[in-house]
């Protein structure tokens, strides 16, 4: 990397061009975000006026309080949280032993699991959602959060398994063997040796599951019709249709608030996440 930088630096025009390119990228990436932020602070009068600047005149929190006060958004956020947390707990509890077994025991299961993980990515959701809808209707789980949790858990599993396998494979078997030589049973080895080493990967995987469930839209759109049961993405999408054109500021504020959990989690795990994705891809 350094040599590349040095040799590139020999050309006088290369550096400024690189900065120019980086600046262009940053504008493309950041401008929509800044605009959303500024819209959320603007008053309705500012939003309507054609000569208002891009920045709000003052940091006005009315839109945020109005968005929070909206009962349906509030309920929706609660539903989303409940669904995402439950899904994450289930997926982590189920994926952890499975990932360990798939990596450590070379059985035919592993090939089957890998095949299914890949397959589940390729199939169009429409093929899955119709039977799932019929199935959940039969057992009375359409329009319930429990039904949504089941669907999310099953459809987050492949990716969680994929990521966790990478983390498990990164733990040297020798450590487990050493612990066994010291007389520790397998359960003790798992608890005292494997689990602590796996903790960062486990955190990354479960946060990833959380974000996926928090953000999910398609399954919720089909499975939830009752306004009391809707999740945040659903509520926001309906808000656009219903009053979004009038209440731009509130829409922007609500959108920003809805991003906060994922943004916070993302900043916490960004390094681990990339490591996990890659190791899953290379060693999984």
């Amino acid at each position: 990397m350094t040599t590349l930088a040095k040799t590139v630096g020999r050309r006088p025009y290369a550096r400024p061009l690189q900065y120019l390119a980086l600046l262009a990228y940053m504008c493309f990436l950041a401008f929509p975000l800044l605009f959303l932020l500024s819209t959320a602070f603007k008053t309705p009068r500012e939003l309507q006026s054609p000569d208002a600047g891009l920045l709000p005149e003052q940091f006005n929190l009315d839109n945020f309080t109005a968005a929070i006060d909206k009962a349906d958004l509030y309920t929706a956020a609660g539903n989303s949280l409940l669904v995402a947390v439950t899904t994450t707990v289930i997926v982590t509890a189920v994926a952890l032993p499975a990932a360990y077994a798939l990596v450590r025991f070379r059985t035919k299961l592993r090939a089957a699991a890998t095949g299914w993980i890949l397959l589940s990515q390729v199939f169009p959701f429409i093929l899955i959602i119709i039977p799932l809808f019929l199935l959940l209707k039969d057992i009375g789980l359409v329009n319930t959060l429990l039904g949504l949790v089941l669907v999310y858990a099953v459809w987050s599993l492949p990716f969680s398994l994929w990521m966790l396998q990478g983390y498990v494979a990164a733990i040297p078997v020798e450590l487990e063997e050493a612990s066994a030589v010291d007389g520790a049973g397998r359960l003790k080895t798992l608890a005292k040796v494997v689990l602590p080493l796996l903790a960062p990967g486990l955190v990354a995987t479960s946060l990833f599951t959380f974000i996926n469930s928090w953000n999910e839209f398609f399954f919720a759109l089909v499975l939830i019709q009752d306004p009391d049961m809707q999740t945040l993405p659903l509520a926001l999408a309906r808000f656009v249709g219903a009053e979004g054109q009038v209440q731009l500021g509130q829409l922007a504020a609500a959108a920003l608030l809805a991003c906060i959990p994922s943004l916070v989690f993302f900043m916490l795990i960004q390094k681990r996440l990339t490591a996990g994705l890659l190791s899953g891809a290379v060693k999984g």
């Binding site: 819209t39 990515q121 078997v173």
Partner: protein
């Protein structure tokens, strides 16, 4: 219990199979019930006349759905739009992300900021990305038109409402939304290219461009193949972004196949017919992936 206390080796032992099954079972059961079974059921539905509603009897109707589908011009239009969307977004996303990853791999100032910004769209729900771009592209108060206005350019463009430009505009939003995964993956790949290779080539007098083309790019190839394949699948199956942005409009010009099949199933209630569309989608995209990956394998073997 002595068998359990033995060191866990990645070698096959008699108890391993049983232990593995026990550990995998909690994952296997729900997956069989809510994933494998629905998939098989879904594929089978594509050969029936299933419809929404109570007490509607379902019959196998063989290839009727496919015969009807073959003559359904709207579906093929939508399929074409889906292919244009998936390929354009994947290719543009790849080129834009490769450029950004190369820049982030250099020793530039403000790199951390660009890196953080590049990750943000990943954390945003597609619904919110769509809402944000609706605000951006709003014909009267959106900043895009106002910037054009300030520059004295035509500024009353209805970006998402004009049939001739809606698809390209939606593609740009798709690129914005999908850049993070690709950039991060390529950047990680770049960082794993051994520096010695580039140094050796530099000593041999290879120019920056030649080193990129003959050293960096070949080393990145496996990662490029993996991420473009995944991107293509994700983009072809994507739904929420375009559903909220345009709902397939104006005049069906952004009607991706996933939206088309969704409408068929949940607006008109034709479950069997919609499942048949899903089958056609999976066969065509599967065939393409097969050819692409086989081509890449052969290239690698040579």
């Amino acid at each position: 219990m002595t068998a359990l206390a033995a060191p866990p080796r990645p070698r096959r032992r008699s108890s391993d199979g049983r232990d593995a099954w026990l550990l995998v079972l909690p994952a296997l059961l729900p997956v069989m019930l809510f994933s494998v079974y629905p998939l098989v059921y879904g594929v089978a539905l594509g050969f029936t006349d299933a419809e929404a509603g109570l007490n509607v009897e379902t019959h196998f109707n063989g290839l009727d759905n496919y015969v009807e589908l073959a003559g359904n011009g709207l579906f093929w239009d939508s399929f074409k739009i889906g292919l244009i969307w998936a390929f354009s977004v994947t290719v543009l996303q790849f080129l834009a992300s490769l450029g950004l990853a190369l820049l982030l791999n250099l020793d530039l100032r403000l790199r951390w900021l660009a890196r953080t910004l590049a990750l943000v769209p990943w954390a945003m729900p597609p619904v919110i990305i769509a809402i944000m771009w609706q605000l951006m592209l709003n014909p009267s108060y959106g900043p895009v038109n106002r910037t054009l206005d300030a520059l004295g350019l035509p500024s009353s463009i209805n970006w998402l409402g004009e049939a001739s430009i809606a698809l390209p505009v939606v593609i740009v939003v798709g690129v914005w939304a999908g850049m993070p995964q690709t950039t991060v993956t390529l950047l990680a790949g770049l960082q794993s290219v051994p520096a010695e290779l580039n140094e050796a080539a530099a000593i041999d007098g290879a120019s920056t461009w030649r080193r990129f083309w003959h050293v960096t790019l070949p080393a990145l190839r496996p990662i490029i193949v993996a991420i473009t394949t995944l991107d293509l699948i994700w983009n072809f199956n994507s739904f929420a972004l375009v559903f909220v942005l345009t709902a397939g409009g104006p005049g069906g010009t952004t009607m991706l196949p996933s939206l088309f099949a969704y409408n068929e199933a949940f607006r008109y209630g034709n479950f069997g017919y919609a499942a048949a569309m899903g089958n056609v989608m999976v066969i065509l995209i599967g065939a393409f992936l097969f050819l692409y990956l086989r081509g890449q394998m052969r290239r690698r073997l040579q």
